[in-house]
Amino acid sequence: MDRRFRDVIEAVLAVDGSAITDTDSPRSIPQWDSVTHLQLLLALEDEFGVQFSPDEMAQLSTIGLIRQRLVSAGVDD
């Protein structure tokens, strides 16, 4: 998952995917705004075939939280 996960983040947030850490959030990545946040989650849904609930969409606010959610959905780490 890791490489694909980083590729999606890199594609949507225009950051270096290999430099991303679990603590990254809208506070550390300026282009991570309300629109790119949803775009990121939608791109991950498309990539990994998962679906986030509206609550999750609102709450998955760091890379670490998103990663955990994907792992618990059975996406291989």
Partner: protein, 603 residues
């Protein structure tokens, strides 16, 4: 990782092939690179909902059509102020084209969801408001943007107030939206530079039920579900492209394995696959799709490596062919290369090679043409003929925002021109000329539908008119109902088109004698044996009335000398002389008759 260039090849079907992240990645690469040769397009999207999610899809779908898209999204709900404010972010962006996309439910949700609370009146006033605001937006946008303004029409909500019974009531929301869309189309016709974007048609074709993702709507006021975002972008870019590009004019078709299955030279006309059973039905379905293009004024041509004689025979006589010899403005069946033939077709039709689109099942031929003449549009034909019709419908080369009257007549015009040219070249004898006209006559007895035209011809025909008796319409009507009178007509069609009802005759029985009271014909079909055909028909009636003899008269006038020899030419013999130089002619039905000429087919 997806290769940017490969993903942008318009020959590759993107649907499902690219993931959302790919669109983001490719869109960024496109924005960062300089795109030589692409048409720049600065697009302002003004919506009553949030559309920012569309950005990467618009950029990629633009690039696939060789358009470099830069897009600005208006702040939703505020774009009307932006439009009239010269210092607004909208005008700072300097858009070429402006998209106005409003949804009725975003403007007044109660007018839509509580449609019946006001008996529809609230929606009616919303409709008026929307049209007024749209007209205002279009004028404001056109005052500054140099390109087209596109206005989205209105999609019916997934769930109508009356559910599955909404359409049953003429006063329902379903029909109110239909009427509003028609009014919008009419309004936009009156506003120069404005075009309709058929958002409603897009939602309908994709299915309104899943059009909106409730999560995205709740969290971001985004009306379009992620799965539909690439499709919407493609649809919008396609619509914009049609307003700024010239449509192709001519579809060049291959024959073997394109219009029919099999190889005509090997399998023969009876061996090819074409008909109502699979796989012939797939080819027939495709031919019908081609016919639809022809109906809107696209010229058809053939470029086929084939024997010209067998091609002509098949196109003219194969009973399952939907497309006919006459439907093609130009036919090249020979053994030269496709590209040579395509250049010839362009020359003959006097259009540029960039106005041609090739549909050929053979990828090698497509590659040959693409390499030799890159300007030619090339449809990527699927391997299975069942997909041919869809491939034609989906190709964007013929996109045209509005249809003109002359478009529909273009094929006829070109065809007549081609026919005249080839006739002039090929005809060696009068007999051959008449045959080549492919005349087809329909004959009949006058009735309520034809009596007006018959009276009109009786009133105005001067030259080819044996007796020049000007019967009024009511007199003709009485004769129609008289059991001893025959009022007959002939209608002629030939390869140049329908000539209409152009021959009239009236026969009156007196005992065993059939008197030809009237025989007249339009001059434009002279010298084609049409008069002989009609006389043969009149004589059938004379026999049916029990007559033994037919009597006709030539009554000379200042204008009808061309028919002075009419009766003798048909085998009548002179009878009594009449006043003022008139002459009767007689034919004995027991001895002589007039044959229907074999150059005219009777239908």
């Amino acid at each position: 990782m997806t290769d940017v260039a490969a993903s942008l090849d318009p020959r590759i079907e993107l649907k499902g092939a690219l993931k959302a992240a790919d669109y983001h990645r490719i869109a960024r690469a496109l924005t960062e690179q300089r795109q030589a040769g692409m048409t720049p397009l600065r697009m302002a999207f003004l919506g009553s909902y949030s559309a920012q999610f569309l950005r990467p899809f618009l950029v990629v779908e633009g690039a696939r059509r060789n358009i470099k898209v830069d897009v600005h999204f208006g702040a939703f709900g505020q774009f009307e102020q932006e439009l009239v404010e010269p210092a607004s972010p909208l005008w700072a962006f300097e858009p070429d084209t402006v998209i106005v996309a409003m949804r009725p439910e975003d403007i007044d949700i109660d007018a839509v969801e509580r449609f019946h609370a006001s008996g529809g009146t609230r929606f009616a006033s919303l409709a008026d408001t929307l049209l007024e605001r749209i007209a205002h937006c279009v004028r404001a946008a056109r005052s500054r943007a140099k390109g087209p303004v596109l206005v989205a029409n209105f999609a019916a909500p997934a769930v109508a107030p009356m559910g599955p019974f909404d359409a049953a009531s003429p006063d329902s929301l379903t029909h109110a939206i239909g009427i509003l869309n028609k009014r919008l189309a009419e309004l936009l016709k009156t506003l120069p530079g404005a075009f309709l974007w058929d958002y409603a048609g897009l939602v309908r074709s994709r299915g309104s039920e899943r059009w909106t993702d409730p999560r995205l709507w709740a969290l971001a006021r985004a009306a379009v579900a992620p799965e539909h975002q690439p499709i919407l972008a493609a649809h919008l870019i396609r619509t914009i492209a049609a307003t700024i590009r010239t449509p192709a004019k001519c579809l060049v078709l291959d024959l073997d394995n394109t219009l029919w299955g099999g190889v005509i030279g090997d399998d023969g006309p009876t061996g090819i696959q074409l008909g109502d059973d699979f796989p012939g039905s797939a080819y027939k379905h495709f031919q019908r799709a081609v016919l639809g293009l022809m109906d809107r004024g696209i010229l058809l041509a053939v470029s086929s490596k084939n024997n010209p004689d067998i091609v002509e025979q098949t196109l003219r006589t194969h009973p399952e062919m939907v497309l006919r010899w006459d439907d093609f403005a130009c036919i090249k069946a020979n053994w030269r290369s496709k590209s040579e033939n395509i250049r010839e077709i362009a020359k003959e039709l006097n259009i540029g090679v960039d106005a041609l689109v090739l549909f050929d099942d053979n990828p090698v031929e497509r590659a040959e043409v693409r390499a030799a003449i890159p300007e030619v549009g090339i449809v990527e034909v699927p391997t299975d003929p069942i997909g041919y019709a869809a491939a034609l419908h989906d190709c964007e080369f013929f996109d045209q925002p509005a249809l003109q009257t002359e478009d529909r007549e273009r094929t006829t015009m070109y065809r007549r021109e081609r026919e005249r040219r080839s006739l002039a070249e090929s005809v060696t004898s009068p007999e051959e000329f008449l045959r080549s006209l492919e005349m087809e006559a329909e004959v009949g007895m006058a009735n309520e539908q034809t009596i007006g035209r018959i009276a009109q011809l009786i009133g105005k025909t001067n030259q080819f008119n044996l007796t020049t008796r000007r019967h009024s319409q009511s007199e003709v009507s009485q004769m129609v109902h008289h059991r001893d009178h025959v009022v007959a007509w002939l209608r002629l069609r030939d390869r140049f088109g329908d000539q209409g009802l152009i021959v009239v005759g009236i026969v009156k029985r007196r005992n065993a004698v059939a008197e030809i009271d009237t025989f007249l014909m339009s001059c434009r079909v002279m010298n084609r044996r049409v008069e002989q055909a009609f006389m043969a028909y009149l004589l059938e009636h004379a026999k049916a009335l029990g007559c033994a003899q037919v009597v006709g008269a030539y009554l000379p006038t200042a204008k009808n000398s061309m028919v002075s020899g009419f009766y003798p030419d048909l085998g009548f013999t002179p009878g009594r002389s009449l006043d003022a130089g008139g002459q009767e002619y007689v034919l004995d039905l027991a001895k002589t008759t007039v044959e229907w000429p074999d150059v005219i087919r009777r239908s």
